[in-house]
């Protein structure tokens, strides 16, 4: 990743790519990957009184509070963020295949794999007393697990056709789950070990897989990290580059729990 100073906006935050205005998601990832104090301060300023950290797009509210909670320094701001995370959940409609709530990408929509992984990670590492929501997240991962293990964006089947897992989402789910559901994680990790090479054309995918393989104690972690280091280091986008940083330094919020 190019030096942070070349990417940081004047307000201290980070956009999804160089030149874009600061946003909560990319700023939180920089705060997490680089323990960047100015990024944390940007998040503190972006936090609403209800504890949430969001991006608004018309009537659509993209909630980044779980990431924000993980990125904030310990203190009242983080606690308010965690309070919001506990109370924020997906909306279930009439789909009989959807029972667990998890966390959604945006307000009043279904829970999905990646936001649920971040919600779970925030609670299991920072608010383990939130057992109901932690249990709900595990239930979502059980409900959405693909046949043979692993996860895609969060749909097990469509009209009776099994949908295959993806590497990036499986890796994020595993990092969210940690040791909470050993058999579920074991199937996911086994699929990840089989599947990561097949999707290694993407920097984000490869970096995320390297983090999850390392966190899961896989003997393939070194190979994934090596494959990542062999890639050209042209900047991709802020979030992908933060994952590269976390993979290279073998660090991330999942190791705190």
């Amino acid at each position: 990743m190019p030096p942070l100073t070349t990417r940081r906006n004047g307000d201290g935050g980070f956009g999804p790519v160089v030149g874009a205005p600061s946003e909560p998601g990319s700023t939180a990832m920089v705060a997490l990957a680089f323990e960047d104090a100015a990024a944390q301060q940007w998040l503190q300023r972006a936090q609403a009184t209800d504890g949430s950290i969001v991006l608004r797009a018309g009537s659509v509210i993209r909630d980044e509070t779980p990431l924000g909670a993980l990125a904030l320094e310990p203190g009242p701001g983080r606690e308010r963020a965690l309070d919001h995370v506990v109370g924020y959940q997906g909306a279930n409609g009439e789909d009989p295949l959807v029972n667990a709530f998890g966390w959604p990408w945006t307000d009043d929509t279904h829970g999905w794999t990646e936001p649920t992984a971040w919600g779970l990670l925030a609670l299991r590492t920072l608010r383990p007393s939130a057992t109901d929501r932690i249990g709900d997240a595990i239930a979502l991962f059980e409900e959405r697990e693909c046949v043979g293990g692993g996860w895609n964006y969060g749909t097990r089947e469509i009209f009776g056709v099994d949908i295959p897992p993806f590497v990036q989402t499986t890796a994020v789910a595993l990092l969210g789950l940690g040791d909470l559901a050993p058999s579920l994680s074991a199937r996911g990790l086994a699929w990840l070990e089989r599947g990561w090479r097949g999707e290694s054309a993407g920097t984000l995918t490869l970096a995320t897989a390297a983090c999850a393989l390392d966190s899961g104690g896989s003997d393939q972690a070194a190979a994934a990290l090596h494959a990542l280091s062999e890639r050209s280091r042209a900047a991709v986008d802020t979030v992908a580059d933060c994952w590269v940083q976390m993979a290279a330094t073998k660090s991330g919020p999942w190791s705190a729990g």
């Binding site: 956009g15 999804p16 790519v17 030149g19 874009a20 205005p21 946003e23 998601g25 990319s26 991006l55 608004r56 797009a57 018309g58 009537s59 659509v60 993209r62 909306a91 959604p104 990408w105 945006t106 009043d108 929509t109 279904h110 999905w112 990646e114 936001p115 895609n152 964006y153 469509i158 009209f159 009776g160 056709v161 949908i163 295959p164 993806f166 990036q168 989402t169 999707e199 054309a201 993407g202 920097t203 984000l204 995918t205 991709v236 986008d237 802020t238 979030v239 992908a240």
Partner: protein, 345 residues
């Protein structure tokens, strides 16, 4: 730009963006308009009645050979003009699944780049925001799109992370009120929607209008862009397409997808490329060519009220007779409402 646009694309979008600030936090305005009834579903000053639509069906049974020439033929047939324009091509790469025909074929995309350059465009950029995968680099690389674009030295933009600004909607079918639209698209003179000819399990068909979903950044709307479904997928298609306003459509029907689309259907060789200077007209003709009834596709019906031409009698047909190239697609489960009807062009 499309002759149906009363305002040049950039002027139209700039006015919308300027209005966004006043619109922010005023969701009640959209709600009020929706409750006012059909007459309040779009801003009539932003959408002028269509004055003519041209659609050309060009037979093509293979992705090999001179596809650039075929695409140029199709664009010339609809009198497309790209002189000095900054053009963005928006293909459909919602995700990548080896062996499937889920995406616009990369050779069609590269062929369009070359054809449009030869027709005088100042620049041609290919842009997509995959709806199911956060890792756009993976989708573009694994699908062969990056390699195809490299061969014609064309830039690719990841719309999921591209800078974006709010745009206040000028149609009000959904409760979205405003959309974050990448500035690349707002600044373009011409956007060309380049979908695959596919069935869709909720919408019936996914063509040049539905393809506009991929213009919205996943970092805002998620993977998938579930918010667009929760407001009613038909409503969202109309509003998003009304914001993006593609000037032209090029539909890849050389091999389409039938059945459990948009991602798990089966290939069907339909042997055509369909070109149009009006996305509504192009989708209407293509839907019939898929053996389905456009009248039964709710979002097409609504889009035809203000966004483009849906009346076959007012669509000028160029190229081959679409009826001669109709291939009955199996509808997607969940979308049998688009029941077969091949009558009348």
């Amino acid at each position: 730009m499309s002759p149906h646009h009363a305002l040049p694309r950039r002027t139209f979008l700039a006015r919308g963006a300027g209005a966004a600030a006043a619109f922010a936090g005023a969701a009640v305005i959209g709600l009020e308009l929706r409750e006012r009834g059909k007459s309040g579903l779009w801003d009539p000053s932003a959408f002028q009645p269509p004055t003519g639509a041209r659609v050309a069906v060009i037979p093509r049974t293979t992705y090999s050979g001179d596809i650039t020439g075929t695409i140029r033929d199709g664009l010339v047939a609809i009198d497309a003009s790209f002189d000095g324009a900054r053009v963005v091509l928006k293909p459909n790469f919602v995700e990548y699944d080896p062996g499937s025909v889920v995406n616009t074929d990369p050779r069609v995309v590269a062929g369009a780049v070359e054809a449009i350059r030869r027709m005088g465009a100042e620049s041609v950029t290919v842009a997509e925001g995959p709806g199911h995968r956060r890792d756009t680099e993976y989708v573009a690389a694994a699908s062969g799109l990056l390699e195809a674009l490299r061969a014609v030295d064309a830039p690719f933009a990841d719309l999921n992370v591209a800078p974006a600004t709010p745009y206040a909607l000028r149609s009000f079918y959904s409760s979205l009120d405003a959309l974050w639209i990448p500035t690349l698209l707002q600044d373009a003179d011409i956007v060309v929607s380049m979908p695959k000819m596919k069935t869709h399990h909720w919408a019936g068909v996914t063509l040049s209008l539905k393809n506009c979903f991929g213009c919205l950044p996943g970092r805002v709307y998620g993977w998938p862009k579930n918010a667009l479904h929760w407001v009613g997928i038909d409503n969202a298609i109309v509003d998003v397409a009304g914001a993006i306003r593609p000037s032209y459509a090029i539909i890849d029907g050389i091999v389409g997808m039938q059945g459990n689309g948009p991602i798990d259907g089966d290939p069907i060789a339909s042997g055509v490329l369909v070109f149009g200077d009006d996305p509504v007209a192009t989708d209407t003709v293509t839907t019939r060519m898929m053996g389905m009834d456009p009248v039964k596709i709710p979002y097409l019906n609504e889009a035809a009220r203000f966004l483009g031409e849906g009346d076959p009698d007012h669509i000028e047909q160029r190229g081959e007779d679409p009826a001669a190239y109709t291939t009955s697609f199996a509808p997607a489960p969940g979308a049998t409402f688009a029941a077969t009807d091949t009558s009348g062009y």
